[in-house]
């Protein structure tokens, strides 16, 4: 359905992608500077940071379903037998 070439899409998105990458890098730098000042991440923040690192690795994958995979990374797990576990008939 999308008739535009990858080059066109990339060209029109380049500045926006660049800006978003800079936002992420600046945020991670801000966190690291705070840690370097002697304020270590608590357990929750460590877990969040690990998931962000995982998401960045997903960005580097060669597949075209990165967004879906990152959404799943930030999602609670679905258990198929939830109705039995919760006793919802």
């Amino acid at each position: 359905m999308n008739q535009r070439s990858g080059s066109v899409v990339f060209d029109e998105s380049f500045l926006s992608v660049r800006a978003k990458l800079l936002e992420i890098s600046a945020t991670l730098d801000r966190v690291d500077r705070a840690v370097e000042r002697g304020d270590p991440l608590d357990e929750n923040a460590v877990e969040q940071r690990e998931r962000v690192d995982h998401a960045i690795r997903l960005l580097l994958s060669e597949r075209s379903d990165r967004t879906e995979n990152i959404q799943r990374l930030f999602s609670r797990r679905y258990r198929p037998n939830w109705r039995t576990d919760m006793a919802v008939s």
Binding site: M1, R4, S75, P80, M86
Partner: protein
């Protein structure tokens, strides 16, 4: 282009928004019952809210040439109060024959709890008993995937549910495929923070096609943009999509889905 916003909470918006929507081409909206920002204390609180949705808000909209339809329920956030939820569900039939009521909604899950699931199932019973269409809220952020799967389980386990009459809202990249594959309608919500952007919504249209797919603003009392559907129209035009395709998403599809509600067929006036 004329368009319909199939999910917006106009009781939370100022009158100027109606004027803006009208100027942008909005001809009709549908307003699901939702959380007011606080838990209501009694069934009469909901009765008053349903009067606002069925009597007051349609008149406010009509002043700007917009037809307002609505959906009735007790939302998932308040479903933890099971006793109150059951009182509200028992009261809803008082309003189902009102000319602007399209069905039961937005029912769903919030934190994916047992009580939310129980009340969701009892809403389904209500919809089945009164042959109503259903509009479903799926949870946000980390709860969305799990909650959407739970909702689809409950819907799919009941053979009495007519999937053509169920709209599953707030789909995103990780939930849209399963909703459409199982034969339900899907709604994409364009929201500044917790849902998706117009650009990502158009990506999903391009990936999944326009059948059984709609877009809405879900404008409410929180950070939201009531003119988000025109933003989607703009993005689709910018990418070179046809006016026919755009119209299918923002006008034809809502009408096709809503037309299964007798009140819509009897009262919607196309321009």
């Amino acid at each position: 282009m004329d368009y319909i916003d199939p999910h917006i909470h106009m009781v939370s918006r100022i009158t100027d928004d109606y004027e803006t929507l009208s100027r942008m081409g909005c001809v009709a909206v549908s307003e699901p019952a939702f959380w007011a920002g606080y838990d209501r204390g009694s069934v009469d609180g909901f009765r008053d809210y349903f009067r606002q949705l069925t009597e007051v808000e349609p008149k406010r909209a009509a002043n700007y040439g917009i037809q307002l339809f609505c959906w009735l329920c007790i939302n998932a956030k308040e479903a933890e109060n099971v006793a109150l939820s059951r009182e509200v569900i028992a009261m809803i039939p008082e309003f189902l024959d009102h000319p602007n009521v399209l069905g039961i909604g937005e029912i769903g899950l919030n934190k994916n709890t047992k009580n939310e699931s129980i009340i969701f199932l009892e809403h389904l019973e209500l919809a089945i008993k009164y042959e109503q269409s259903i509009l479903i809220h799926t949870p946000h952020l980390a709860d969305k995937y799990q909650g959407t799967r739970m909702i689809l389980d409950m819907l799919s386990d009941d053979s009495r549910i007519d999937r053509d009459r169920v709209l599953v809202d707030h789909v995103e990249e990780h939930t849209i495929g399963e909703v459409l594959d199982r034969g339900f309608w899907a709604g994409m919500t364009l929201y500044p923070v917790s849902k998706c952007t117009p650009e990502r919504a158009v990506d999903m249209i391009e990936m999944y096609g326009p059948e059984r797919l709609m877009a809405n603003s879900a404008g409410d009392w929180g950070p939201s943009k009531p003119t988000a559907v025109p933003d989607l129209i703009f993005e689709m035009r910018r990418r070179g999509h046809s006016e026919t395709l755009i119209r299918k998403i923002v006008y034809d599809n809502p009408i096709e889905f809503f037309s299964q509600s007798p009140n819509f067929n009897n009262h919607f006036q196309s321009r």
